[in-house]
């Protein structure tokens, strides 16, 4: 598959207090990043259930990013510490399942780091381009029903 044909599907979970505001700042500063990134707002990165991520992969997402406040800066004091542990375990589980661990990104982006958000997303999408399409976990019944093209 040519890289140019591949239009990855990226889901980014952003916490309300830091990363969502960081993404907004990227917007206000007109910092460009790939259009494939679609953001879902959560109150805290610790609200991101690993099941959401697996669900996204199952429904055809090629990469999932989870962004939260920097450790120590969590609006809810300790939420992102749980995120950090959960995502470490999820990474191991992805290894175990044979899904490239780089398809899942955990990154800390503060409300002041619009440039970091844009760069993180640009780099992430570039990485996903190199990994290619997520075929391992995509549920073909669902993906076929959608608009995405299948490949053998």
């Amino acid at each position: 598959m040519q890289i140019t044909d591949f239009n990855p599907n990226i889901v980014a979970f952003c916490c309300n207090w830091c990363s969502y505001a960081g993404a907004d700042l990227a917007g206000t500063s007109r910092l460009q990043y790939p259009v494939q990134v679609r953001i879902i707002k959560v109150p805290c990165s610790c609200r991101v259930d690993p099941l959401f991520i697996l669900r996204a992969f199952q429904r055809g997402a090629d990469g999932v990013a989870v962004c939260g406040c920097h450790p120590g800066d969590c609006h809810y004091a300790t939420g992102n510490y749980y995120t950090r542990r959960r995502m470490a375990l999820l990474h191991n589980m992805l290894d175990f399942m044979g899904i490239e661990r780089d398809r899942m990104l955990l990154q800390w982006v503060s409300a002041a780091e619009g440039a970091k958000f844009a760069k993180t997303m640009t780099d992430f999408v570039e990485n996903i381009h190199m990994l290619g399409k997520n075929t391992r976990l995509a549920d073909w019944r669902v993906v076929n029903a959608g608009n995405n093209e299948t490949e053998s």
Binding site: W17, D24, G27, G72, D73, S110
Partner: protein
């Protein structure tokens, strides 16, 4: 049957310029459950809001999606509009197609596709929304001000004048902050102490103001309207009630060579000391690291001479806990360390001063009684050179990338002060740019250059060498394009300012964020400049960013107005997006309670967990932890978020 209305905003050309809004309307109207979709140039305008209200009544909408700017801008606006039309405000969702779409993607075709996906996700979510009703919480009608500089003092006075109790917590032994150290203030050359000390005295004498100096914030709990704050009052070793401030103790203290923090190290103080003559409160502290009594156990002279018997060597730190409704963070600034700036010879020559040190020297109450002398030999200098932007606008990692904002003006001020005292002294300033935005600022700078004959040279200094009793400067005059090798008797460095060392930890305790330079972050850079991201916590002064005294005072009064606006309320609406247990699924395992940072989950019924809505802040840690899926978060339920994931991946 769900009837969802989708309202697509153009935001003038901000959205429409990059997103084909007509195509978004067309495509979203075919999505299941969407009863109607329209576009309008400005949804947030009254006409746009009326459109939403009318559609709710006309179509009997059960849910509303507004595809517009960030929910951080106008979510509240659109929720209110829905509420006015009789629809529960939590049946409104925002698709952020401006900040997170039209502004960050240039290609119209793909940006339109993304806007449709975001709107579809919002529709999928709102399908699963349920009406929510905010609860109420009480307001403790007292305010806490952290920091006793001019920002903290001004905020405290304004709040106290409105009739509310205020507590000021200051780390140093006296309130007054950096402004107390200054000589004159630009651009009017008012004497700093003359305008500050009356305010200090007002604060100290105000019935509604309590001042805790030599104190630190220890612990913070609670939320807007109901903060519980523990304050550590460090052991002063002097009884505040008995001390009369007579000064016998520090006159007799044998430890006389501790560099004075207040005088920027230009002279020494004793181990028992008040930082300056007009200190408020005028009660000394014993600096236990330098006191002979505490180091060796022998001495105690101060106790012997103290008539009222106020000296107490056994005093311990005291922790007091108080409740507050609102907080102002005014933690102020420090200058950066010059350890990494060896080229300016700051550590090699006593005649190289920072601007704050010079401020003490030129101050009539300072260590030289206002005489400007070389620290090396006590002689009057014949030429003085200022170097600007020392560590400011510095993209190497040893300095700060930002402009410290106040230096151009205080340099002009200090140059004028020198010329006023000694017209025969040569004064020159090395600058990158002279920045003078402010009322009467440029006029002031021009007075320095034109009327007082201060020589401004555009260029940076490469090296300062201390040779014998003169300082040799190697620099470049950029306008004339020539290398300069000049001699001067004294150098004053405009050192970059940075947030005080405690800013980050203090902000953290109040769950308020700081930026990459550790300045506290305001909730919105334009429209909410004195609010932090945490409700009930407000910002004032240089802790939020470099600023001069007029701006600091303005911001402090603004923060005070916000505090007063909060404290006059009897009840606050609480966020209804809290966690809740499904009692049929909960097996009382106790994991949720372990992860809750607020202690909001209890197991009193012995059968299921229960969430205290007043304490729950809605982070969702418990929801993800719950192994049986019994816990869920209103407004961000598993079904809602899964639906968003599905819609986005479609």
């Amino acid at each position: 049957m769900e009837k969802i209305g989708v309202f697509v905003c153009h935001c003038g050309s901000n959205i429409k310029g990059n997103v084909d809004t007509a195509a978004v309307v067309e495509q979203i109207s075919h999505v299941d459950g969407v009863a109607m979709a329209v576009e309008y140039p400005y949804m947030c305008a009254e006409a746009g809001q009326a459109m939403i209200r009318n559609a709710i009544t006309e179509h009997g909408l059960t849910g509303v999606v507004v595809a517009a700017c960030s929910p951080r801008m106008h979510e509240a606006t659109f929720r209110k509009a829905a509420e006015r039309a009789g629809l529960n405000s939590y049946m409104v969702e925002i698709a952020n197609i401006r900040e997170q779409c039209s502004w960050v993607h240039r290609d119209t075709v793909s940006a339109t596709k993304k806007a449709v996906a975001l709107a579809r996700a919002a529709v999928a979510k709102v399908h699963r929304n349920t009406p929510l009703h905010p609860g109420e919480s009480s307001v403790t009608k007292r305010a806490l001000v952290v920091g006793g500089g001019i920002a903290g003092i001004q905020a405290a006075l304004d709040i106290a004048e409105a009739g509310f109790e205020v507590t000021i917590v200051e780390t140093t032994p006296s309130i007054g902050g950096k402004m107390a150290q200054l000589d004159k203030t630009f651009p009017t050359l008012d004497c700093s102490a003359c305008i500050l000390t009356p305010k200090m005295v007002d604060a100290a004498g105000h019935d509604n103001i309590a001042i805790h100096t030599y104190s630190e914030i220890e612990k913070v709990e609670g939320f807007v309207g109901n903060f519980t704050v523990s304050i550590r009052k460090k052991a002063r070793s002097v009884d505040m009630d008995k001390c009369t401030g007579c000064g016998d103790c520090w006159a007799k203290c044998p430890v006389k060579r501790v560099p004075s923090e207040f005088d920027s190290g230009l002279c020494n103080r004793t181990a028992i000391y008040t930082p300056f003559a007009q200190a408020v409160p005028n009660v000394p502290v014993i600096d236990r690291t330098n006191c002979v009594k505490f180091k060796t156990g022998r001495c105690g002279l101060c106790r012997t001479v103290c008539q009222p018997g106020a000296i107490d060597f056994d005093q311990q730190d005291e922790i007091i806990t108080e409740n507050f409704g609102a907080v102002v963070l005014a933690t102020g600034y420090d200058t950066i360390s010059l350890d990494k700036f060896g080229e300016y010879a700051y550590h090699d020559s006593p005649d190289v001063l920072t601007a704050l040190e010079f401020e003490r020297m030129t101050n009539a109450a300072g260590p030289t009684d206002g005489r400007i002398v070389r620290m090396s030999d006590g002689h009057k200098p014949k030429s003085i050179t200022f170097i600007q932007c020392v560590g400011s606008r510095d993209i190497t990692n040893r300095g700060k990338t930002y402009c410290s904002k106040i230096c151009c003006m205080y340099t002009a001020k200090q140059a004028i002060l020198i010329k006023d005292k000694y017209p025969d002294v040569d004064v020159q300033v090395f600058y990158i740019d002279v920045r003078t935005p402010g009322k009467n600022f440029d006029e002031f700078y021009r007075r320095a250059a034109e009327e007082y004959g201060v020589k401004y040279i555009k260029g940076q200094v490469g090296k300062v060498v201390n040779v014998g009793d003169t300082l040799h400067i190697q620099a470049v005059d950029m306008l004339e394009g020539r290398h300069m090798d000049i001699q001067t008797d004294m150098i004053i460095l405009a050192t970059a300012i940075q947030p005080s060392a405690t800013a980050k930890t203090t902000a953290g305790m109040f769950s308020s964020s700081v930026d990459q330079n550790h300045f506290m972050t305001e909730a919105h850079p334009k429209l909410r400049p004195v609010e932090s991201h945490t409700a009930g916590v407000f910002l004032a002064g240089c802790g939020q960013g470099p600023k001069d005294i007029p701006e600091t005072v303005a911001q402090a009064s603004a923060a005070a107005a916000k505090v007063i606006g909060l404290l006059v309320k009897d009840k606050l609406m609480t966020n209804p997006c809290t966690a809740a247990t499904d009692e049929d699924l909960c097996n009382n395992c106790g994991l949720c309670g372990n992860v809750c940072p607020y202690g909001a989950i209890t197991y009193e019924s012995k059968l299921t967990a229960s969430v205290n809505n007043a304490l729950c802040q809605g982070c969702g840690a418990c929801v993800v932890t719950c192994p049986s899926g019994a816990m869920d978060l209103h407004g961000f339920t598993n079904r809602q978020l899964m639906a968003e994931v599905d819609a986005i991946c479609k």
